[in-house]
Amino acid sequence: MVDVRSPLAHRAAALATIDAVEIPLLTQVDVRCSEADAVRLGFPIEPNTVTGDMTRGALWLGPDEWLVVAPPGDPGVIVEGLEALLVDTHHAVVDVSGNRALIELRGPNRLALLASACSLDLDPAGGWAPGVCAQTLLARAQVILQELPDATRVFVRPSFADYVVDRLVAAVR
């Protein structure tokens, strides 16, 4: 019996106090390739936007870098699928499923909570809306934020995940 542990399994209670949950063991694959190949794969070209939906999508991370997210499962299958689509082109497809934990904030005050620690304009009046993502700092941790219709996702390195939870909880104490 293999003991599989997600990075924030021990923080469910703390997350609940800020109306958040961990989305554990998501498949995450970092893809580096040309813009032309990205168009072919249906990846977003507009910086800081997302294609796909909340279960399967591609986040723009840079002009030649995307993060593909998919439901938990065997990341190898996704990697192989992408490799097949990019064969004979200069590319890198790297399984990074373990490289980031994922927190999903769900409450109506979630953007205000994030604004306690993030200098991005997270106001809908400033353009923040479902379908956008951004790499930025949450307090002193690097994160990727992704806006969904009723939630905001925070991707963070597992080593920083406890810090981010503590910092968000402290923001409203």
Partner: protein
């Protein structure tokens, strides 16, 4: 806290960026062909003008792209930012 326009991600706080010193300094094609003083000049000597100058930044907490910027060293105002391989805007 400067507001710096990443050529890819747009306006972000300075804290997201890493500074990279003077821009448009090419690594010598053949360092071994340089004399000690010439190599030291490349290695250590930088311009220090009052007014506009070009410098490099990297969007460390964002898209991780290096880019160039023109900044006025007297007013601390960022005049322009532009992508690697591009010239400064006219």
């Amino acid at each position: 806290m400067l507001l710096i326009r990443c050529p890819w991600c747009g306006d972000r706080d300075e804290i997201e960026f890493k500074y990279g010193g003077q821009a448009h300094l090419a690594y010598p094609a053949d360092p071994e062909a340089l004399s000690d003083p010439e190599w030291a000049d490349f290695l250590f000597m930088r311009d220090n003008p009052k007014g506009e100058w070009s410098e490099r930044w990297m969007h460390a907490a964002g898209c991780r792209r290096w880019f160039n910027a023109v900044r006025d060293t007297a007013t601390h105002r960022m005049i322009a930012t532009y992508r690697m391989g591009e010239g400064p805007p006219a």
